[in-house]
């Protein structure tokens, strides 16, 4: 599914985030990455998503080396194969929930009706059934994150990249949301690369890796 | 005679004039020898109307052509004493036409202006008529220089008299109608030898030919009954010259007729109303005006030597001349030939009545 080999990234100022980092995810595998603040967890996600470029090394998704793609190619790859869940939800405030969730499908070129039907179904599966015409301002943080999860999965991506998806939520909500998230990705059969501080969140993963300047170390 | 000239000025005043004090008292033609030469080559401003009328045949490379160079002077019937140089007292009209069978109709130019500024003037004392770049001048030797043209052609002619002037009527007193004083002072210069140049477009050719000059002035010419007239002047190859005219009424009957025959030896026979007859043989229908002109006419002239018939044949049919732009009528003025001679025929008043 995902193969990262020999990744090197130096941030401006000369500090090396990681030196020759290797990582691979099998189809449907759920991997959590933890590490100290500033260790480069988000940067790792950006590199995997093709939003940032490594100094060396390669990122292959489904056998496609994203270094060989131009910006448009990487954008298409993201659009079709990857779903995102952010710490800060990022839901468009002036679109209703159905449209927000349907956005990836619309961007892929599906017609409006089919996209919205799929989005409603997705919303129902995250427990927001029948609320497609509500606007984000009416929702709580947990609900917003569920919308984000729905959006990440609506186009059936093979890989979900999640960046502290529960970071903005209280522990109870975080737990419920995480459970729903795990349930949904398992159900969808998607591989997940989750970056988090939270040991609770990490515990849901098949395996947990710790990011340090020397690379990724598996934590048992 | 050339009654046409009256029509030129029909607009300019036959009707009674509004103010007695402004009315011009025209001079009458004296009955006793009104023509004195060379003085009378010049203009006569006190008479109502006057003309210098040159017609003739020219030999060109393309064959014979007819031509006409004509100047009219006319005194307006009123004079308010306006001191302006523009004050309209005399009007000058110029006509020029070329009859070329190759063209098939007349090529013509016409001008009208009040006299003045040396631009349009007729001098007294000797022939010197000028109208812009058109002119007719008599030199010391008695020859005439004529120049006139249009955008299409220019005539530069030298006209040399080969015979003395021919005084028409009684020593120049030519009666025109049955009424008292219906007469003009009239003399002709037939058999003028023509040399000169004809310019058409960029091409100038030297030409020769023979012409006829009519000089006539009067204050009272036409009988009120008349609606038109016919005139012809023929230069005969034997050196003789024939002048005939007839004034017609509405029925086509002659109101008056006359003319003269001058032999090569100079003997002059005057013709009276009973001596001249016109018999049309063929008419030409003008597609422009609808008039029917008797372009082939037999003129019979009776002299003491007997009656002679001249079968007039036109150089071409369409020699209609529309002079309405300069105040004249639409009429037929064309080169004609007869057995043993050539000349010009004038037919007026066939396309509806000439408007006086």
């Amino acid at each position: 599914m995902l193969n990262v080999t020999g990744l090197v990234k130096t941030v401006p100022g000369g500090r090396t985030l990681f030196e020759r980092l290797d990582l691979s995810l099998a189809r449907g595998e759920f991997v959590a990455v933890t590490g100290e603040s500033g260790a480069g967890k988000s940067t790792l996600l950006n590199l995997v998503a093709g939003l940032d470029s490594p100094d060396a090394g390669s990122v292959c998704i489904d056998g496609t080396d994203i270094a060989g793609l131009d910006d448009d190619g990487r954008t298409r790859l993201r659009r079709d194969r990857i779903g995102f869940v952010f710490q800060a939800f990022h839901v468009l405030p002036h679109l209703d929930l159905a449209h927000n969730v349907a956005l990836p499908l619309a961007l892929q070129g599906h017609d409006a009706h089919a996209s919205l039907v799929a989005a409603e179904a997705m919303l129902a599966s995250v427990g927001l059934g029948g609320r497609g015409d509500a606007y984000p301002r009416e929702l709580s943080g947990g609900e917003l994150q569920r919308v984000a999860v729905a959006r990440a999965l609506v186009h059936r991506p093979g890989l979900i990249l999640a960046d502290e998806p529960t970071g903005n939520l209280d522990p109870d909500t975080a737990a419920r949301t995480l459970a729903l998230f795990v349930d949904q990705v398992r159900h969808a059969g998607a591989a997940v690369l989750l970056v988090t501080h939270s040991t609770v969140a990490a515990s849901a993963a098949d395996r947990t890796l710790v990011l340090s300047p020397t690379g990724l170390v598996e934590r048992g | 005679m050339r009654l046409l000239r009256l029509a030129v000025l029909s607009l300019l005043g036959f009707a009674a004039c509004g103010w007695a004090d402004d009315r011009v008292a025209y001079a009458p033609v004296p009955k006793d020898a009104p023509v004195v030469l060379p003085r009378d080559h010049g203009a006569h401003p006190n008479f109502k109307t006057e003309w210098w009328y040159v017609t003739g045949w020219l030999q060109t490379k393309g064959g014979p052509v007819g031509f006409q160079v004509t100047f009219f002077r006319s005194r307006l019937p009123f004079d308010d004493g306006n001191p302006s140089r523009f004050a309209a007292r005399q009007v000058v009209v110029g006509h020029v036409a070329l009859a070329d069978p190759v063209v098939g109709h007349l090529e013509q130019g016409q001008r009208l202006a009040r006299e003045g500024f040396g631009l349009a003037e007729a001098a007294t004392g000797d022939t010197d008529v000028v109208f812009g770049d058109w002119r007719l001048v008599r030199d010391k030797e008695g020859s005439f220089t004529a120049r006139a043209g249009t955008a299409r052609f220019t005539l530069d002619l030298h006209l040399r008299p080969t015979q003395p002037a021919l005084l028409q009527g009684d020593r120049g007193y030519s009666r025109k109608g049955p009424g008292q004083d219906e007469a003009s002072a009239y003399f002709s210069m037939p058999h003028l030898a023509v040399t000169g140049r004809l310019t058409r477009g960029a091409r100038t050719e030297t030409i020769r030919g023979e012409a006829w000059l009519d000089r006539e002035w009067s204050s009272n010419l036409l009988n009120p009954r008349s609606v038109g007239w016919d005139w012809a002047g023929l230069n005969m190859d034997d050196g003789s010259a024939v002048t005939v005219f007839r004034v017609r009424d509405a029925q086509g009957h002659p109101v008056w007729a006359g003319g003269s025959v001058r032999g090569a030896d100079g003997t002059l026979t005057l013709l009276g109303p009973g001596d001249v007859a016109f018999a049309p043989r063929r008419r030409w229908h003008s597609p422009r005006t609808g008039a029917d002109y008797p372009v082939e006419t037999t003129v019979s002239v009776t002299t003491p030597a007997g009656t002679k018939h001249f079968e007039l044949r036109p150089l071409m049919d369409d020699q209609e001349f529309d002079t309405r732009r300069t105040g004249g009528p639409v009429y037929w003025e064309g080169a004609v030939e007869v057995d043993g001679g050539r000349g010009y025929l004038e037919l007026v008043g066939y396309g509806g009545k000439v408007n006086f």
Binding site: P93 | L11, A16, P77, F117
Partner: protein, 836 residues
């Protein structure tokens, strides 16, 4: 999977949601474009309609003549020129006497004496009445009237009427109408009669010339010039057109410039609206990029928004412009109050091409206005932008003013260049460069102006926050400032120019109107003759009487005539206020004083010798230059005694009277009127205050359209400022929430917004006023002298400038406050948890 119309669905959703969420912004942009297009299109339509009318008038006047020789003055040239020209080969010449005349002492007509006795000249209808009619006509007892003159005089064919010109009057019968001149007030009579009856013996005003086929205009003109005396000029239809065109070209360009400025201001508004919309949606665009929207699709998204706004705005603008134009034509006439065309309002002519062009300009302004922010949006680095919704510019980067400086230097250079074809092209270029340079200078200037405030040792937190933001986020501040500065500068520039102009005109009127009473003879009356003037001098209560004769002099065939003013130059009311250097003319030489426009148009300086196109072509020395705002095409003053000696003309068109102390002006006026003749008709009496009022009214009328456009520019500008500030405040909800979290009171935030807004308004106002004053100097010292040939003294409308700056500060802080309050009331705390 991806179909060709791939992004249309997403595009649509985003467009609609944006406009539904912020309809006011879309509406403002549409309105701005609509206003700009409407003004430009309306001004163009009015111009085109008026010019169409002008062309028609031209054709009916110049008839079918190929060339025309005209007298350079009202006396005409010697008629012996006629035969000289007529003898030139290939010319058909018609002489004309032309006079201004009065029918029945009341209807102004142009009288032409023509020669109908010419081949082709009989078409006039002069032969209608047969010989008697012709005799009447040739003796001047009958005339032909145009239909317009006939109906104006209330006469019919066959009536008798009085025809007066050049001090003579005769009774004439109306013989018929002139079909060729139906729409002008014209009378035709015989040339000789006109010369005799109206004292024009020996003189002609015109020769109309037709060229024979094959004769070229240029060759004929050369030939004619060789025989032409100095008091006559030869013109062809081209120079005629040039002359008439020159009348209004400068004015039209001025109006077009104003219209374009309106369009430009609209473009600015679109720019600021779009760039703020983009700034506000930076994170949204970043998200869309992350979700898989390609870079060019983001660009397309913004440009699609702009073009939809542009099309809607342009469509509305064209319709609005059509309405405005027809309104303006009916209310103001074809010259929009400029006083160039006379007569009826022209018909409105709809111009589909012009509509298309102005519509496209509107769409173009919208698209271009969005292009810069759209490019910025598409270049957003998604990974960075999605985390940081704020200003991407690093506060430590210094603003670079060098591009602005290049523009300003370019403006200076352009203002030094001469006019192009009578149009102050480079003047306008200089103004555009000044505007561009000024706007580009804004980030730098804003920092420079705010910088000292940052170091004010004040513990007032809102103040420090406000200055820090203005200093630290100059690119956002300068977007708002650009709109403020541009609209303020344009408004101030026009205001300063108009104020200076009006002030100079008022001062000039004071100089010119020295007498107590003015009597002006109406046209066609022939003025006051010597005997009348003598009688008027003797009227009791007249302390001093000055006379004036106005008569046109043509120095150049391609320019309108200069006015010769022969006037009394001695005595208490005869002072002529001069500007600049003057010389003393040696005894025996004729002195003339030229007006400023004449001096500029013909490059006459004191000391120059002129050949006056008067009979006898006298020479004269320029003794000085005087200021004149009345005659745009130039005027020359000479002593009336000298004038009488040169021309023999003793008639005078007007007199000015100083009253003896204690004299009753009404009594004196009555005395003067009776001195003119029984009834005292054909005379207008004015007092200086009336003339002054009328002159200033005429001035204000001619600047009405300017005031209108200015007002609209202010409105558009203020709307832009409000929209900009409002959008900026809205985009900072998170910042406010954070400040509330760290303990800022609501009052603190309100104060911060007030201070920010006021500072923004002040900085923009001060910069705008400074830029506007600079631009007004280009208008005053470059555009006006080059277009209209007069200068003026700069007068600054201080109260107005103060109000502009204060008004801007109030408008900006007010908007900031109003929008800020609504934002602060509900969302601030919660906003921290939101992303935008």
């Amino acid at each position: 999977m991806a179909r060709p119309a791939s992004l249309s669905v997403a595009h649509r959703w985003l467009l609609w949601s944006e406009w539904r969420a912020y309809p006011g912004r879309a509406l403002a942009a549409v309105l701005a474009i609509a206003l700009g297009v409407a003004l430009g299109f309306a001004v163009h339509l009015v111009n085109a309609s008026a010019l169409g009318e002008f062309d028609k008038a031209m054709h009916s006047v110049s008839g079918s003549a190929d060339l025309e020789i005209r007298s350079a003055n009202a006396f005409g040239f010697d008629e012996m020129l006629y035969p000289r020209v007529a003898r030139l080969p290939g010319l058909d010449v018609s002489p004309v006497v032309a006079l201004s005349a009065l029918v029945d002492d009341k209807i102004q007509v142009s009288l032409e004496g023509v020669d109908v006795l010419r081949a082709g000249g009989m078409g006039q209808g002069a032969s209608d009445g047969g010989a008697e009619g012709l005799a009447d006509f040739l003796s001047g007892r009958s005339v032909y009237l145009s239909a317009a003159a006939l109906s104006a005089a209330g006469r019919k064919v066959g009536d008798s009427m009085t025809l007066g010109a050049n001090g003579h009057a005769i009774q004439v019968r109306i013989a018929g109408t002139l079909p060729s001149r139906a729409n002008t007030n014209a009378v035709t009579m015989d040339i000789a009669a006109a010369q005799w009856r109206f004292g024009m013996l020996g003189r002609l005003q015109r020769l109309e010339i037709r060229l024979a086929p094959g004769i070229g205009t240029a060759g004929a003109m050369r030939m004619i010039r060789a025989v032409l005396p100095p008091d006559a000029i030869v013109t062809d239809t081209a120079s005629e057109a040039a002359r008439n065109d020159g009348l209004s070209a400068a004015y039209r360009v001025n109006l077009d410039m104003l219209a374009l400025i309106a369009l430009l201001t609209g473009g600015f508004l679109v720019y600021s609206a779009q760039s703020l919309s983009v700034a506000r949606r930076r994170a949204q665009f970043a998200l869309l990029r992350v979700l898989g929207m390609q870079r060019k699709k983001v660009l397309g998204q913004v440009l699609t928004e702009a073009s939809v706004l542009g099309v809607v705005g342009a469509g509305a603008g064209v319709a609005l412009g059509l309405g405005l134009a027809s309104l303006a034509l009916n209310l103001l006439g074809g010259d929009l109050g400029g006083g160039y065309f006379h007569g009826n309002a022209p018909q409105l002519v709809f111009a589909p091409w012009a509509a298309a062009i102005f519509g496209l300009l509107g769409v173009g302004a919208a698209v271009l206005g969005s292009m810069v922010p759209a490019l910025a949006a598409s270049r957003i680095l998604p990974a960075l932008a999605i985390k940081n919704a704020g200003d991407a510019v690093d506060p430590r980067v210094r603003a670079r003013p060098w591009r602005a400086v290049v523009c300003l230097v370019g403006a200076l250079l352009a203002s030094l260049l001469p006019a192009v074809g009578g149009i102050a092209l480079f003047g306008y270029v200089a103004m555009a460069l000044l505007l561009a340079g000024g706007v580009m200078l804004m980030p730098w200037l804003a920092r420079a102006l705010v910088s000292p405030l940052r170091h004010v040792p004040l513990r007032h937190v809102p103040f420090r926050l406000a200055t820090a933001r203005l200093w630290g986020a100059p690119s956002q501040a300068s977007v708002a400032l650009a709109g403020i500065v541009a609209s303020t500068a344009l408004t101030v520039a026009m205001a300063v120019m108009v104020t200076s102009f009006r002030g100079s005109v008022e001062r000039w009127l004071g100089d010119v109107l020295q007498a107590d009473v003015y009597l002006i003879a109406e046209g066609g009356r022939g003025g006051f003759d010597a005997a009348t003037l003598e009688r008027m001098r003797k009227v009791p209560g007249v302390a001093w009487l000055g006379v004036l004769k106005e008569t046109p002099l043509q120095f150049d065939a391609r320019r309108p005539a200069v006015t010769l003013l022969a006037r009394t130059l001695t005595g208490p009311g005869g002072h002529l206020a001069l500007m600049g250097s003057r010389i003393t003319v040696p005894a025996g030489a004729t002195a003339v004083w030229v007006s400023e426009p004449a001096s500029r148009i013909y490059h006459w300086k004191p000391g120059d010798t002129l050949t006056l196109p008067l009979p006898g072509s006298p020479k004269a020395r320029v003794a000085g230059v005087w200021r004149d705002y009345a005659r745009q095409h130039g005027a020359i003053v000479m002593d009336e005694g000298t004038y009488a000696r040169l021309t023999g003309d003793r008639s005078r068109t007007s007199v000015s009277v100083l009253l003896a102390p204690g004299a009753n002006s009404d009594t004196v006026v009555a005395g003067l009127r009776s001195a003119v003749g029984p009834g005292g008709g054909g005379v207008t009496v004015s007092r200086p205050q009336d003339i002054r009022r009328q002159a200033l009214e005429a001035f204000d009328r001619s600047f009405l359209i300017t005031y209108l456009l200015e007002g609209i520019a202010v409105c558009v500008g203020l709307a832009g400022v409000a929209a900009t500030i409002g959008a900026q405040v809205l985009s900072r909800i998170r910042e406010f929430g954070m400040l509330r979290h760290v303990g800022a009171l609501r009052g603190d935030l309100v104060r911060m917004l007030l201070i920010e807004g006021a500072l923004l308004g002040l900085v923009g106002g001060i910069a705008g006023v400074a830029l506007g004053v600079a631009m007004s100097q280009v208008l005053i010292h470059v555009v006006n002298p080059q277009s209209f040939h007069w200068t003026m003294d700069t007068l600054l409308p201080w109260p107005l400038l103060g109000w502009v700056i204060a008004g801007l500060a109030v408008a900006t802080s007010g908007t900031a406050l109003v929008v800020g309050r609504s934002v602060l009331s509900a969302d601030a705390v919660r906003a921290v948890r939101e992303d935008w």
